[in-house]
Symmetry: C5
Subunit: 357 residues, 5 copies
């Protein structure tokens, strides 16, 4: 079942009220900060908003990556320092958001979903991102290495990332989030393939459960991936000094990736529906087979049993010569067997012709 | 069944004719009035339109909350005092409206639906709201505490509500209505989960009824929640001095909430459809199992009964030595049992191989 | 089956050719004329176009209501007098039109459908209406009292109808047509509810026929009600001196009603689909039950019959002491019964555990 | 199966290559020419493009109707004389086109589909039409009388056709094509009705084939009729001196007809889907009935056979007085019959109560 | 199962990173170059980007056709020479793209899919195309003759291709790609037809697998053909000196072809869905038939066996004259046979009437 966990504020509470998420998905909140320009790089860890502010070196791009959401105080202080809107911060904490892109006066707020496949089913994690003038803030629910390749590219000054601004960093982060869908989808595709094999080879009662688990996972996937396309498209079309012109061609490429993801999700949907059809027709076929075995056996032996029943009757042969004279025939019993064998053969021939056996 | 109760005026009657709803859902009409500004607050109860007018202190925001709709005279007087259009008042009384937002010359009329889950199924209540210059009027069918948190925030001057105008109050009320959907959906989700368990563990004839009851409730939910999105969106885009600029960012957040509600409703729809599929395949599987038991038992005993029938035949052994010599064999009977046991074992082996037992 | 009756002109015939409808749905064409202004009222009946023209008093609003369509000559004369386009007149006669609103140079032509529920199924009647400067012409196929409340409001000067022009009369007529859907839908809802009860309690072969009759009626309803919304919307948005500004707020209210009608129709559609699902699962369940009875009975008695068959065998106890010694035991027969009862009890226990009995 | 016949040019061939259709649907290409003005009329037949050019009298409207497509040379000559684009001519020959309207610089090219019902299933014929300044060219695959009524109206100067230009002629031809759908649909509706009767009364294995044949025919119908609406709509909205203002009101009427056709096609689609549902539930019901007969008979006779089997056992009454004393009772046999009848009656009562008999 | 093969770059890698596709679908990368103007033609083969640059003769149109994608170095050099954007080159290598048309500053990048039907199922190949000022670059995954007719038309100066620019060449190539769908669809249609025959004549367990294989192939087809329409439409509407005005009429014709392809794909989808319905109803019908055989046989012989059982009972006729007097009747046994035959005939008559035999 798809549960939504109590990930919404109580109805009627004042907007912008920050309350920590009900379930702590990480033990310790950790914050990693990275500052860079074309030729410089500074990197440190700290969970104290004031320390972060103090340590800032003033390089062109500042990226603060917060993992874990239950330190509400840290969020509030970051919100004050970077002028984040309370409604946006509330959305960071209420992790039931759909992927969305919301422009605020001086920054852009983006929510994305990261898919994890754990223990055979899919889970989604909310990634929130603020793009402001000179800084990028990201919030993750649980630690993971999805942003690590980007950090590595910054460290090694690989590609153009060090030469460009926070909008390119934002693009790079979104790109790694969207591209992370591909291996998840690949895994899911293999799972469907196995299921497809099982449905054909050996479907049992649990198969239908597995099909429906796949269907539910696909629902989660669709909820997470459909709005991504709009997010990227809104980003690309958004007129603001925060999004420079050079970045748009990269966003168009990213948009293409989101569409490819959707394409695969939709294809999987059709495949799962097809699996259920095969399963049901397979169950029907098995029932048919069972019925045929019963019918063939019953059709052969029921008449024979009647025949045997006849010669078990006690009509008195002495009463008249019409009463069961067969019983006294010298070859009555062999004749009975001949008739029996003939009946069986005829029956088998009929069923053969009907392709039942 | 989804009934619509006679909640429409007789066809052909003059537009704007006010007739009380057929079913009184509350014993006594009650009116609670609250007036406030940044530093002042007045609150009283009265069911007399003239008394309300007389008691008005002239504070920036006046909120009149009417619970119960059958006092048509009170509505008419309020309509005159606040210049409400008769067609809008008619819609307040005909509670079969869809959620909608209708701008009139000097005020905005909003209809929303509040979901109640009672006795295992969902019911909707119509909430009507007028936003005018300096006042908000709300009409509820039955008493409930959905607006209580807002009233509390006004009383305790919590958040910005006391510093802002009637448009913010309207936002706060709509927000509490929309957010009220989340616990209702949460309950519904738990109900679906229980049903999902029942379908897999122990489906019986009533299960299909429960699935369809859930489906019908979902229909009610969709009818109530789909138009909410358009209501909030129309509100946000509406150009009027009644909706100040500061409010729009809150309305955008509210819009997000309506979309999240729809998302959950759609997910539940897919889940309910899936439940029916599981149920049907489960019924098929059970039939299959029944058939197998019958087939296995019949396949084993029908041939054996034939065998026993043979040796119950009365062919006369004295007529010839071909007639049933087995009966006179010293070990005929034990041989019969050996044959019987062999047949049973062979049958069991065959069925084992077919995975029927 | 939904038949369309030969309600179209022969292909290739010149446009604007007037031919009477194939089926006369009324014996006698009757025309009722009503003329009114704020203070005056004239009303008479006549089936002669010239007489109507002669009797005209020149009051602000003239409403001619024609019941029955087979007097082609009358239509042609009215068409000449009021300058109606031949293509519009042709549409009046070819009653297979969809609801539509067509502006002509100096008048507006509206086609609506009126639903009748007769003998347990729904039928639609075409209502055509011309709104011109100072006059309204309506054409009905069969007599009915759907316009009577409007006529009554004119006679008694109830509401604003006498003070307003032909556009308000048009609105009032359309309003009574749309609102007439509500009782029809209410009836249909009750029929669905009865059917829902029958499907659960006692489904038989006719039930599926009834469900499909309901489905077909719903098709008729949808065909009649979907385009109504566009008609009213086109009317509201149409810029012409024929539609005054005061009328638009009423048309918006009427639009809401058409949307409510559609909402109910769509809900019923979902319900009917659900009924079929319940019916099919109910049939499956019954089959299951039948199979269980057979299986339980057969499983109990087939082994017992085999047992009885054994002791009916004629192995000669005198041939050896191995041959059926049980037959000679003193308590052989009671022992047989004990074994029988034990087998029955064990079987019943097994089936009890499987929840088959 | 819906085959598309090799009605496309080989891939990679130069655009505008004219190759005759693979299947000759007519023996001889025939060309009928008609020229007319308000007071004049000339009509002749010729299959030679030069002769046609030579015979032209210069009247306001020239209509050349070509039946049969395999005379590629004739088409090429006509194309040169009337300045038809090679791509359009190619589309005339490749008869797998969808209905479409394509404006060229100095003429309009229209493709329509004409439905024929032959030998119980539907076939479509491509009709191509060029509207130029002063002329109309039509191309049909097979001879038929669908344009005959228009020709007759020209000859007899019936209606306004002689007074108007080639655009009105085009309208008249399109109108006769669209209106030709109505009798085809009417026939189809009757076929569905018969099928509906058969499904309820006496469904057998062929019924499902007939339902699917109807479904396939409906697919052909939809492919032919859906784009018609866009064709007429594009025609109506097309700004060109070729389409005069007077014609637009007629095109609007024609548009209405195309929408009515679609409406019927969609209704039939729903009906056919419904038929399949009834068929399947009917098959289920029959299976149920078969099962009940088997179960009732088996349930009655299996216990009785066991009873008879008991008294066929050979327990020796002489061994003890416990061994089958019933056999020696004076009224043992009548008692057996009494028990038998009682069992039968009880069984019948139970089945009666279960409504199985 | 639809697998996507690892055809995407690792998530988080820098955009524009060129990595060769995982599966080499061709042994050797081959490049064929053709340069032409109205009167001149040069053609050669080379797999070295520098050699190609050196050999260029400067004719109006240069077409470089690369078959095989794993020579990343060649691509990089071509990219530098023709100023291709790294993101576009990355898309050439990641062959999981959807068909798309992307304008870059000085060139247009087009991705199309070519369908191959191999070993009874469909596969798609990615064709990438760059249209720049004076040149066209195409990239194919595997060698094939889909572009051969175009090359032939260039060589033989057939049609207008030599007189026109690289945009016409692009059109000609896209046209041959789209038209290549028709024979593939034709083959698929024949496969469906065979399947349709098999479903009706002799459906077995493998049939459902074949139906689903067809369904999956159709998914591949849809993914490849749906976006083609948008590609061509975007091309036609794109304002750039790269797309001359003369070309647009050809692109419109090409657009029509893409729509026809979609039309066929959609029709096949409906047909495949229909096949599954026929298959399931066919399985149901067979089950029904099996059940009838069992029921008829059991219904006839079970009562008879009971009858025979009665006269096998050992009630002692000597105990009283009520005990089985039939056994001593002179014609008891013949009477038994008469009763038996009568029962059989009555049963057969009943089943005949029920149309079971």
């Amino acid at each position: 079942m798809v549960r939504f966990g109590k990930r919404f504020a109580p109805p009627g509470s004042a907007p912008g009220t920050l309350s920590p998420p009900e379930i702590r998905r990480v033990q310790e909140v950790s914050v990693s900060v990275i500052e860079y320009g074309p030729d410089q790089l500074a990197e440190w860890r700290s969970a104290d908003a004031d320390e972060i502010a103090a340590k800032r070196a003033g390089l062109p791009v500042l990226w603060i990556d917060v993992v874990g959401l239950h330190d509400v105080e840290l969020l509030r202080r970051l919100g004050e320092q970077f002028d984040l809107h309370p409604l946006a911060l509330e959305d960071v904490l209420n992790t039931g958001q759909r992927p969305k892109m919301e422009p605020y006066e001086n920054l852009i707020f983006v929510v994305m979903k990261l898919m994890h496949s754990s223990a055979g089913h899919l889970e989604s994690e909310q990634i929130s991102l603020f793009l402001g003038s000179g800084f990028v803030l990201t919030f993750q629910e649980i630690p993971g290495d999805v942003f690590e390749p980007v950090r590595q590219r910054i460290r090694t000054a690989q590609g153009r990332i060090r030469r460009m601004g926070p909008d390119y960093l934002t693009y790079a982060l979104l790109d790694s989030l969207v591209d992370h869908c591909f291996p998840v989808l690949e895994d899911f595709g293999e799972r469907l393939e196995d299921l497809g094999q099982e449905v054909v080879d050996d479907p049992d009662r649990e198969t239908v459960g597995l099909i429906h688990a796949a269907k539910r996972d696909l629902l989660v996937l669709r909820r997470a991936t459909w709005p991504q396309r709009e997010v990227v498209s809104a980003f690309e079309r958004y007129e603001s000094p925060l999004v420079t012109k050079e970045i748009r061609i990269f966003l168009r490429d990213l948009y293409d990736h989101t569409v490819q993801v959707l394409d695969m999700v939709e294809t999987y949907r059709d495949l799962v529906t097809g699996l259920l059809d095969i399963y049901l027709s397979s169950v029907s076929n098995r029932m048919n087979e069972v019925m045929k075995v019963l019918t063939v056996l019953a059709s052969i032996f029921i008449p024979l049993t009647f025949l045997a029943g006849i010669y078990g009757m006690n009509f008195d042969p002495r009463a008249s010569r019409w009463n069961m004279p067969e019983l006294d025939w010298a070859y009555g019993y062999p004749a009975f067997w001949v008739v029996t064998v003939v009946i069986v053969l005829v029956m088998l021939l009929i069923f053969k012709k009907k392709k039942w056996i």
